[in-house]
């Protein structure tokens, strides 16, 4: 409040005895507020508000004895992540099963997984990304597991010869 000299020259004070000027103690705070808000804006812009989200992955401990856990073929579903966002899937063992193709849309993979998860007790899902797939495909497939609530799933990168042959023909 720029009132350092307000006591001077007021119309109604005409003719009065001149007193010694009393300097107002008020200081104009506007520039200070300006500065403070500038700094506030700066800190607001540079601060990291959102911490990144993460997915926790637990890979099986590499066993030295070569021991593996087998799952029943009737309770196993395999997803093979191919190139151009394609997914090949089958139930059971690769030599006898029929392979089908789908995609990552809600009506594709998710619908199939929901149906199979309902009809199969203790479903185990095996996710096999091929070398032609990308990282997003892998994250999408893992994400579907948590969306649908499939508890048992594994990320595997070994392919059976049958699988390689069959996805070539699809």
């Amino acid at each position: 409040m720029a009132e350092l000299d307000t006591s001077q020259g007021g119309g109604h004070k005409k003719g009065k005895k001149k007193r010694s000027k009393k300097a107002s103690t008020r200081v104009d705070l506007t520039p200070m507020v300006d500065l403070a808000f500038l700094l506030v804006t700066f800190f607001m812009m540079t601060t990291t508000f959102s911490k990144p989200q993460t997915m926790e992955i637990n890979m099986p401990v590499k066993s030295t004895t070569g021991e593996t856990s087998d799952t029943k073929a009737s309770q196993t579903m395999t997803l093979i992540l191919g190139e151009n966002d394609k997914v090949f899937w089958f139930k059971g063992t690769p030599d006898t099963a029929n392979f089908s193709t789908t995609d990552y849309s809600p009506n594709g993979l998710r619908r199939i997984l929901i149906d199979i998860n309902k009809s199969t007790k203790d479903l185990t899902c095996i996710i096999k990304p091929t070398d032609k797939s990308n990282y997003r495909n892998m994250v999408d497939a893992l994400d579907e597991m948590s969306i649908i609530g499939i508890k048992r799933y594994a990320l595997v990168s070994d392919f059976a010869p049958d699988e390689k042959e069959k996805i070539k023909n699809l």
Partner: protein, 200 residues
């Protein structure tokens, strides 16, 4: 009729209260702010519905770019210094004081160990824009594994986070995960963007 005189009010407003508020906010932001670490590359992470937050500190990050280059970084100035000392002892490369200081300020880098010295010798502005070839992850020359082991030795509490670009080829991620498993790291995090959980 006498004119009614409207008393003229001052247009000045008392700024004291506003000043108080703004400085309160300023103090709040100054105390809570944590500056964004400057990342050498921009990575578009895929989306997931996972809502687990990444902890603030003790993070060892492995960044994989769209074209499959791997960058490595740890947090904490002190831990970075310790890490560099371990690497310099292992590879018999001595680093000057300036190079050690430069390394302690580098949040992530993607150069092979043989080129690390040249990389740290660059002035800070040049280093920021320098082309980095990525850390070798081939099975014959797996430097990422060396960095992971020594990072863990420097600070055993490090959690490993993979920040991969959605479009990066799976082969690179496969190599990174295989490297982690070789080093007996079976638990790690994948950094993703938040997506709304769809209704099913």
């Amino acid at each position: 009729m006498p004119k009614v005189k409207v008393p003229r009010k001052s247009t000045n407003i008392d700024m004291t209260a506003m000043c108080d508020v703004s400085f309160l906010l300023l103090t709040f932001f100054m105390l809570t702010t944590k500056f964004k670490a400057d990342e050498p590359v921009v990575v578009q992470t895929p989306k997931s519905i996972s809502e687990i937050k990444l902890p603030d500190n003790d993070i060892m990050s492995i960044t994989v770019t769209k074209d499959g280059k791997v960058y490595y970084g740890v947090d904490g100035k002190f831990n970075r210094e310790k890490l560099l000392q371990k690497i310099s002892a292992k590879y018999n490369i001595s680093f000057t004081e300036e190079e050690q200081y430069a390394f302690s300020l580098t949040s992530a880098f993607g150069v092979p160990i043989t080129k690390l010295k040249t990389f740290l010798d660059m002035p800070a502005e040049v280093r920021k824009d320098a082309v980095q070839p990525g850390i070798p992850i081939d099975s014959t020359n797996n430097e990422l594994g060396v960095w992971i082991i020594n990072g863990r030795l420097a600070n055993p509490n490090y959690r490993i986070a993979i920040r991969g670009d959605g479009d990066c080829p799976y082969t690179v991620i496969k190599r990174v995960i295989a490297t982690l498993q070789e080093k007996n790291v079976n638990k790690f995090n994948l950094i993703t963007n938040l997506e709304v959980r769809p209704k099913i």
